[in-house]
Symmetry: C2
């Protein structure tokens, strides 16, 4: 049942899994897809996260190197302190970003990608490759 893959199927090698989005594709969900399951699906959560206003950009800047809070605030044009905080907290909650506090005066806080965060860059890269492929149409 669990060979490591899941979620969305490869075009020519789809297969079942515990997650709802996958189930629909694997043919396990012939009828209606319960809203609760779709909302609870971790893949759904992941794309929602990436899709909100600032997450991708913050992720990209952190992929470059670790940043201080105000450093990010300066580089992300147009973001408010409130939204930067919220975005970073959400990334922390998903263990994509690690927060390190330096007990100096004034206090310094550094944000950096976790190992999991860096691993995300791989599928994200694949997605970006798809995006630019055949831009011509």
């Amino acid at each position: 049942m669990s060979d490591g893959n899941t979620g969305v199927p490869h075009p020519d090698a789809p297969h079942p899994d515990a997650h709802m989005v996958a189930a629909a594709v694997g043919g396990l969900m012939p009828g209606r897809v319960p809203a609760a399951e779709y909302e609870a699906c971790p893949v759904t959560h992941a794309v929602r996260m990436l899709g909100d206003k600032w997450t991708l950009l913050v992720l990209m800047l952190l992929a470059e190197r670790a940043h201080r809070f105000n450093e990010l605030h300066r580089r992300v044009d147009g973001i408010s302190q409130r939204m930067l905080t919220r975005t970073l907290r959400a990334l922390e909650d998903d263990r994509l970003v690690a927060r390190t506090v330096f007990p100096t005066v004034p206090p310094g806080v550094e944000y950096d990608l976790t190992e999991r965060g860096r691993e995300l860059l791989v599928p994200l890269s694949a997605l970006a490759d798809w995006v630019v492929k055949d831009r011509a149409a």
Copy 2:
């Protein structure tokens, strides 16, 4: 400069590109990232699309097979006609979904993934794999 890759970097092989998100990571954007460029970036657009409320689910159902409008409306629990229409139109605009009208009475409309839409399933699958990896933590 252009080896086919772009956008988001592989952890150990990042490189520059024309797109803003990529540029930031490739080290080409040392300072502030212009909001306009981030908003215009096709990768940004793609993740926003996938991240909205119904797109992923509709995509997954269409990956299974082509659907009629009302067929989708029945299978996607909780979606309104308005949002199903909007979601499908957006997918059409991005050439991920093709719309075919059968001039019968009453009229029938079939939605199916385009080739580009099917190709999207590959990076999406990679993302799903990442999601379920080390759920334990």
